[in-house]
């Protein structure tokens, strides 16, 4: 028997929790499916556990992180149908009755739910940053280091180097400094002059002044530490015998070398579009964030009626904007399900939209200060783009020369994107490399088509699906 519900929210980060909180506040009910074992998403990962078991670490994990507890507390007390450890692997759109089937896996058993509304709040993932040698053990991402730090308080031993650009680099650096973990160097890859360019957006950013204040504090903390910071870094290479040992890079045409055990890379984050691509929703390319995101209207609804995308999954704009967007989608659904009146809906929406507008003021400033890298399309030939199938940039460029016109044809010709990660790690890079090689805009190059399951699962699980 299939469970039939009004609303399914996918993801329990700020956007998903906020949608749930809003819906439950006015007497509605929603099932929340989240891959993790506790609410918080990536940004507030393990917040409840840290508060309970390691409260002294809160001081250096920062106030932005601590803020998540406000959401999780309300969420836990209201969301009776919260299903942690649930991995959604397929959504089926039933055109006849306007319902959706959601397939998900929980502890190795797959189930199906039928629902009228879907709120996709699956957030963002770190932009994969292909550089020569990035597949060596010892090379990871800033987000991964931070995630382990939040989850278990553990950190990489040995010589640690952070490389890239973005608020997350500053945040992790400050957290590591706070925890007394040493960082050998920070390689800042933002291009020269970014700060001056960003100043143009400074007045609007003042509406979200607390971010500026926090950013200033983070930067100060790093300046006051004795960490060596290299600016305008280009041509970063990782190498080593079986694992990371050496880093080389250029600063204004001067070559530098460093010995390192761990390199944490970061070049911003991208909307997680697996589910929205699976649903074949319309997507647009953002030249500023250099990523695709689904097209949504001001309350988060997509080209498919009843399907909402909220939070960073609809275009990266941070945890607080995500929270407002989640609440707005929640209130729209409440009204459609007739829990509240239209007038009541509009009041709440206007309030959240106003607050969201102020909060979003920081985006143009941040996106210009830490611009999304334009060089991924130009990585050296030997750089591996598809890690699963070990396909290099050179191979992709070669098939383009032979008339290959897009990512799906490249996938067919090279197995690029066919591996176990299902194209999540190489999708954007393939679009970037092909865009440069074809001299076409990324929007016109397109992206991999996504087919179920969006995460691997055993055949046995599918065979037994109908028994559950």
């Amino acid at each position: 028997m299939t469970l039939c519900v009004d609303v399914v929210i996918i993801g329990a980060g700020p956007a998903g929790m906020s949608a749930s909180n809003m819906i439950h506040e006015y007497g509605g009910r929603a099932v929340i499916l989240d891959e993790q074992s506790e609410p918080g998403g990536q940004i507030y990962k393990a917040i409840d556990r840290v508060m309970r078991d390691r409260p002294n670490e809160l001081s250096w994990l920062g106030s932005a992180y601590h803020d998540g507890a406000r959401l999780t507390k309300k969420f836990r007390s209201q969301a009776k149908d919260y299903q942690p450890g649930s991995m959604v692997w397929h959504i089926e759109c039933r055109n006849l009755d306007g319902l959706y089937n959601i397939f998900y896996s929980q502890a190795g058993v797959s189930k199906k739910i039928e629902t009228k509304y879907i709120v996709i709040a699956t957030g963002a993932m770190e932009r994969p940053v292909p550089i020569p040698g990035w597949t060596l053990p010892g090379v990871m991402t800033v987000g991964a280091v931070q995630s382990v730090l939040k989850n278990s308080g553990m950190y990489p031993s040995g010589k640690l180097v952070l490389a890239g650009a973005g608020p997350l680099v500053l945040q992790l650096a400050s957290q590591l400094i706070g925890a007394g973990i040493s960082i050998l160097a920070i390689l800042d890859t933002s291009p020269k002059g970014s700060f001056l360019k960003a100043l143009r957006h400074f007045p609007r950013a003042l509406f979200a002044g607390d971010y500026l204040y926090k950013g200033w504090n983070l930067t100060n903390k790093i300046m006051q530490s004795n960490i060596k910071v290299y600016r305008n870094v280009t041509e970063l290479n990782a190498s080593g015998d079986g694992r990371l040992q050496n880093l080389s890079f250029k600063v204004n045409e001067t070559k530098h070398c460093l010995k390192a055990d761990t390199l944490a890379l970061h070049e911003g984050i991208l909307p997680n579009v697996q589910l929205t691509r699976l649903l074949d929703l319309e997507h647009v390319w953002s030249p500023r964030q250099r990523s695709f995101s689904p097209v949504v209207n001001s309350w988060g609804e997509t080209s498919l009626s009843g399907v909402f995308v909220v939070g960073d999954g609809a275009g990266v704009s941070g945890a607080r904007t995500a929270e407002y967007s989640g609440a707005i989608a929640g209130i729209i659904i409440l009204e459609r399900l007739e829990y509240i009146k239209e007038s009541q809906r509009d009041l709440i929406i206007e309030d959240r939209k106003f607050r969201r507008l102020l909060d979003e003021g920081i985006r143009p400033f941040l996106d210009t200060l830490f611009p999304a890298p334009e060089r991924i399309g130009e990585v050296p030939d030997k750089t591996i783009i598809c890690r699963c199938e070990e396909i290099t940039a050179a191979e992709i460029r070669e098939v383009v020369k032979k008339g290959c016109s897009g990512p799906n044809q490249a996938k067919a010709f090279l197995r690029c994107g066919m591996g176990i990660c299902q194209g999540r790690m190489c999708g954007t890079s393939v679009t970037e490399v092909m865009s440069k090689a074809l001299e076409k805009k990324p929007a016109d190059v397109g992206a991999f088509r996504v087919r179920p399951p969006i995460k691997p699962l055993s055949l046995e699980e599918i065979v037994t699906l109908n028994d559950n």
């Binding site: 397929h90 098939v399 032979k402 016109s405 176990i420 691997p456 046995e460 599918i462 065979v463």
Partner: protein, 367 residues
């Protein structure tokens, strides 16, 4: 832009025919659609299959067998010419039966094909469940028997397509992706092909556009009664080599992934994914090979076959507009070798319809 041949469609059929034409010194332009077109050549299973082909048309049985025999040399030729190993193997194929009814169906098909006149001996025979398990130890207890044919094989269809494209381009092919053909205008001599990116001229035009042929045929007096039939395929993660034979709807690739097929649905031009179909495929596959249960599924897709009313290929030169040909089939992989090496030369000859009389769409008029 003028060439001897314009081939509409850059899939396995169009690329194989172009390969053959270029070898014979013709100039060829391929007009192809974009990255997200309905592409049967990108969605197929990769069997070079003989055993079930031609039940009802002995010429097709013979043609499939001929192609299967050409394939080993063809594959070698492609490696030599392009460095791409297309992964051709001919270990023989087993169609596993899960019940007596299925067994009977295969047995009846073998008898019918034997009774057709002039059909090439294809060595196909029914074998018992126990014999199957001796040949292929991973086969489970539910399997009651199988239809076996020693000439069945496999190839990587994607690498084949890539190798054909590469060799064609090196031989002077003009390849134009993102060129959707809007109209074909027969000229006093030759054809004018209008695309979204301008027009092209040629002496001869070949329709190899799969399910797009039907509409294109109307411009050159060809009635092509084909329609889409949707099939699903499921792919697992990589694993160590599992099989001695090709198991019809279960095939392991050289890379180690296992492909599971195949379903048939008539849903029009919709290559969407139907979960029920994938579940059916997987259910059958794990009953046949229980060890598959533990593997993880990593991808699946559906694609549209190009089906004629009787399932056999359609080859025809237009009698109203000589020089316009249609070549369509749902076995672009099996027949790639025959299309490249046997069919292409006939396009340069004077008696195409005589050579391929059996495959004329006129066969549908009689019924």
């Amino acid at each position: 832009m003028t060439s001897d041949f314009i081939v509409i469609g850059g899939g396995l059929v169009g690329a194989a025919v172009s390969y053959g034409l270029l070898k014979l010194g013709a100039t060829v332009t391929i007009l192809d659609e974009g990255d997200t077109a309905f592409r049967a050549s990108r969605g197929n299973f990769g069997l070079v299959w003989v055993q079930s082909k031609g039940d009802g048309m002995h010429e097709y049985a013979t043609w499939s067998r001929e192609s299967s025999d050409l394939w080993p040399n063809f594959a070698e030729l492609l490696v030599e010419e392009t460095g791409i190993n297309v992964g051709h193997h001919r270990p023989g194929g087993l169609e596993l039966c899960l019940d007596e009814a299925e067994y009977m169906d295969f047995e009846n098909s073998i008898n019918r094909m034997h009774n057709q006149p002039n059909v090439a001996e294809n060595g196909r025979r029914m074998i018992s469940g126990d014999e199957v398990r001796r040949m292929e130890p991973s086969v489970g207890p539910e399997v009651v028997g199988a239809s076996y044919c020693p000439y069945d094989g496999i190839v990587n269809p994607l690498y084949t397509l890539r190798a054909l494209h590469q060799k064609c381009i090196e031989s002077g092919l003009i390849y134009r992706p993102d060129h959707e053909v809007k109209k074909i205008i027969p000229q006093i001599r030759g054809f004018k092909i209008i695309t979204n990116e301008g027009y092209f001229l040629s002496d001869k035009v070949i329709l190899a556009a799969g399910n797009g042929n039907k509409a294109l045929g109307e411009f050159v007096g060809l009635d092509i009664p084909t329609g889409p039939e949707r099939g699903h395929i499921v792919v697992t993660e990589r694993t160590s080599p599992l099989f001695n034979y090709v198991l019809g709807a279960i095939r392991q690739t050289d890379e180690g992934t296992v492909m599971l097929g195949a379903t048939k649905e008539n849903v029009g031009f919709d290559s969407g994914f139907n979960f029920e179909m994938a579940a059916k495929i997987i259910d059958k596959a794990v009953r046949k090979i229980p060890a598959l249960k533990k593997l993880r599924m990593i991808r699946s897709w559906s694609a549209l076959r190009i089906m004629s009313p009787d399932g056999f290929p359609i080859y025809e030169e237009s009698s109203n507009f000589p020089g316009a040909f249609v070549i369509t089939c749902h076995s672009g992989v099996t027949l790639a070798a025959a299309h490249a090496l046997k069919l292409a030369p006939e396009l340069l000859g004077n008696d195409f319809n005589g050579k391929f009389n059996a495959f004329s769409p006129k066969r549908f008029d009689v019924r």
